[in-house]
Symmetry: C2
Subunit: 217 residues, 2 copies
């Protein structure tokens, strides 16, 4: 294997422990194995508070959440029924499911909010890092039936169901279906920085590493 | 003032210090006053690494960033020139500007990626919390000229410029223009949880507080 191929392979397979980033961010990874332990209501509250304080365009706060916990089986099964089939075998064991919904227009003007989904992404990110801080694990799912969710929860037309989030304490990956288990324990992969950090022009790698050398001399 | 009006007013004006959330999330607030101190290249690298490890639908990683630092004045002025006029008086003092761009389609299939902006929101959130951990402050701006950014950076048609992020060490709000200064020091406002956390049906407040009482007995 030529050298640059090796180097590229490493750059996408290394783990983020190598980067000097905050433990909350470094420790997060998508997990699908949940223990049977329920999530305490005050912990759920902290997750929602974290989402609440996220920033948003014009402070519109375009996020809403529909909550379903295993403490309320009828509601839990209702949300589980919105998931696509491949998510059910593991998500049924999560003690908390949360459907995140975006309001597509600004509440004051009615104008389209171009940043509605972006801002919901920031709110769920805040919720996710708060979950990591609380010792929980999180899996976000795009794989759910949008129309079914809209219909069973009577979600208004100017709102958009975005993701279902499964939250709980970490369980044993050995209990997962084989295909999901392999995903759970596989090394994480990401594109290297020079694939997505540019300067001056699209596709042109940034010179910030040069600045680093400049400052050292 | 009747009691429930008082209670509602409090619920939107309280600060997040009251909620038991992680300091990284509690301490974040949008700030526009920057000191003249430059951001060290290894700190900028950690911000981008934090964004890199964000989760995304199908691990598409639909984010790209165009970086402009005050160390490279031509590039810095180029990005400053994309901002809407009202952002220039304070953003010109930020040592780092970053344009976040979303790829609208999946790279493998070409299908529309419904979660592209959502995932870019999560990447910028990770970057933001890493910035807070590094002692920096952040302001995200929707107020920039999208077409101009697309044109001067040659951003491809299947990519969408999303926000410009201003990053730096905290400065003195006294140096801000009066209108911006008032915003900088005003109490933060958010909707109360019962406005956006539902259960069973849209608009129906969640019973999670009842569960809390159940568990206590």
């Amino acid at each position: 294997m030529p050298n640059d191929t090796v180097s590229q392979a490493l750059s996408v397979e290394e783990d983020c422990a190598q980067a000097e980033i905050h433990p909350l961010i470094a420790q997060r990874r998508t997990r699908r194995a949940f223990s049977s332990k329920l999530v305490e209501p005050q912990v759920v509250r902290a997750l929602l508070e974290a989402a609440r304080w996220a920033p948003s365009s014009m402070n519109e706060q375009p996020w809403s959440f529909i909550l379903a916990t295993r403490q309320h089986p009828v509601e839990f099964d209702r949300m589980l029924g919105c998931l696509l089939e491949f998510n059910v075998p593991w998500a049924q064991h999560a003690p908390v499911l949360l459907l995140a919904v975006a309001r597509s227009s600004f509440s004051r003007s009615g104008d389209v909010n171009r940043h509605a989904l972006y801002d919901v992404g920031q709110a769920v990110a805040a919720l996710t890092y708060q979950a990591i801080a609380s010792g929980l694990t999180v899996c976000q799912m795009a794989g759910f039936d949008i129309q079914k969710a809209r219909s069973i929860y009577s979600i208004p037309d100017d709102h958009e169901p975005v993701v279902v989030v499964a939250i709980g304490y970490q369980g044993d990956p050995a209990n997962l279906p084989e295909k999901v288990r392999r995903k759970e324990i596989a090394p994480r992969k990401r594109n290297s920085l020079d694939h997505f950090v540019f300067e001056a022009k699209w596709g042109q790698p940034s010179r910030w590493q040069d600045s680093s050398q400049t400052q050292r001399t």
